[in-house]
Symmetry: C2
Subunit: 287 residues, 2 copies
Amino acid sequence: MAELFITKQSGEGERFDVTKLKRSLLASGASVADVTAVLKQLTALVKPGVSTAELYRRAFQLLRSIGKSYAARYSLSRAIMQLGPSGFPFEQYVAAVLEVAGYQTCTNQIFQGKCLTHEVDVVAEKPAENIHAIIEVKFHNRPGNKTGSKDILYTHARFLDINQEWVVKRARGAKPQGGELQSWLFTNTKVTTDVIQYARCAGLRITSWDYPADASFKKMIDTHLLYPITVLLGLNADQKNQLLRARLVLCRDLLEPKNEKMIHRLGLGDRKIKLLLNEVQSLLNGV
Amino acid sequence: MAELFITKQSGEGERFDVTKLKRSLLASGASVADVTAVLKQLTALVKPGVSTAELYRRAFQLLRSIGKSYAARYSLSRAIMQLGPSGFPFEQYVAAVLEVAGYQTCTNQIFQGKCLTHEVDVVAEKPAENIHAIIEVKFHNRPGNKTGSKDILYTHARFLDINQEWVVKRARGAKPQGGELQSWLFTNTKVTTDVIQYARCAGLRITSWDYPADASFKKMIDTHLLYPITVLLGLNADQKNQLLRARLVLCRDLLEPKNEKMIHRLGLGDRKIKLLLNEVQSLLNGV
C-alpha cells in the first residue's frame, strides 16, 4: 500500500502504520487469525484523511463481534480517560492498582512542607521494605496529550518541600525511622523524553502508560487484570458513575459477594446482571 | 443602595462594590469631579445579574468621552492581555519594562541545567550590582486567572536545576564570578497567597499585577509610563500586531524618530498619524 496520511484527534496528520495497528489489535488478546481478518476490513477503510477516531471506532466494533473482552482490552486507554473529567476516580483507580501490587495506600493526604501545605494525591507504602512514597497523579482525559517537563519539575519541587519537613520531623523522633521518602509521578499518558531524563537525574520514579517497559501502567493492568469498570459494555455512563462514586473502580470487584447489593442497585434486570458478570469473567479469563 | 450581585467573566456572582469601582476609575487619572459623574451614570446601569464586562465597557466609553488617555489607563490590564494569545509579545514587553528599570535583558535564552536544557523567558542583569536573574514569565490572557502554587514550584525546580550547573561552571572559572543567580517569577495576573508564602520561604522574587505593593507590575508601568501599544485607540488590531511583530511594544517608542518609518508603514493617513501621536503624548503626560 502506498504511504497514506490519516488524521489524529489533535487534527495533525500521521502516516498510517499497519504494523502499529496490528500490534494494538493483537494486544486485545484476539487470535492471529481474527486479527488478520479485522485488519483486512480496516485497511479497506483507510483513505487519505480518514480519522484515527473513525478507524478506532470500527476496530472496536469488529473486535466486539468476536468477543466483548477483546473490545474491552482494546479500548483500555480510552476507558481510563473515562474515569475523568475530574482526577478523583483516577486517583482511586491508581490506589487500587497499587494495592494489588502490594502497597498500602491512601488518597488525598495533607502533608506539611517546609514552605507550604500540600495535598498529596496518593501515598503508597510497603512498611516491610521501608518504602514510603508520595505520588503525584497526573490525569489527562484527552488522547494524545503527554505529561511534560513542567509537571515533573513541579512534582520534584513539591517533594523537596515535603521532604525537608519530613527529615526534620524524623530527626525529632517521628516514625517511620527507616527508609527515605520517595517521589513518584504516575500518569495515564505517555511522558516526554525530558520527563524520563529529569526523573533519572533527580531521582524520581515514573510510571506512565508505556514506561518503564517492564512495569508500565499498561503492563500492571494487563498482568494483574486490573481493568477499570469503564471498559464494560454492559453498563451505561450513569451506572459507571454510580459505581465510581461508591469507589468501586475495578471490574474484578464486581465479582465479590460484598458488592452484590451495589450491583442490584444499578437498576439492571436479572438477565443483564448475568450478562454483565459474564463479561467481567471473560475479561478476567482473558477470552 | 441595597446589596446587588453582578456576574463576573467566569460566570460567578460578585457583590457589586461601588468603592472598588470608584478606585479603578480614579486610577485612570480622571479628576474626582469627572469620576463622580461617570460613577453616577454607571450605578444607574447596575441591576441584578448585569455583567462586569458590560459595566467595564460602559465605563471605558464614558472615560473616553472625557479623554482618551483616561480610557487607556483604565483598560491597562486588558490591553496587556491583548499582547497574547502567545506569550512572546508579553515577554518582549516585560523585557522592555525591565530595561527602563535599569536592567540589561535578553529573551528566550537556552540554559543548560544539571538534568535538563531549559529555555528561559527573560534574563535580567545589573552587572554593576552583581544581579543576575532568570525570569519565568507567566502570561494569562483571561481576566480573573491567578498564578498558583504549581507555577511557582515549577519555577523553583527549574531554577535549582540551572543553578546547580551554574555553580559548577563558576567553580571552573566561568563568568560572572560575583553574585548569586536569582530566580524571579513575573506575571500579569494576581498570585495566590500560597505563591507569596512559598516565594518568601524558598527565596524567589515575584512581580505580579499588584505585588509587591510598592513595586508591582502595575506600579512599574504607571511610574515610568510604560503603556503597551495595545492600549491605543488610534490603532486597530492588525496595526497593533504589525508593531508587536517588529518588537515595538511601548507607546513611548512611537515618539522616537527612528520609528517614524515603521508608523508610516501602518497605512494610516497623515491626520490619523497626528491623532495617534497626540494620543501617545497625552498618555505620557498623564492627561
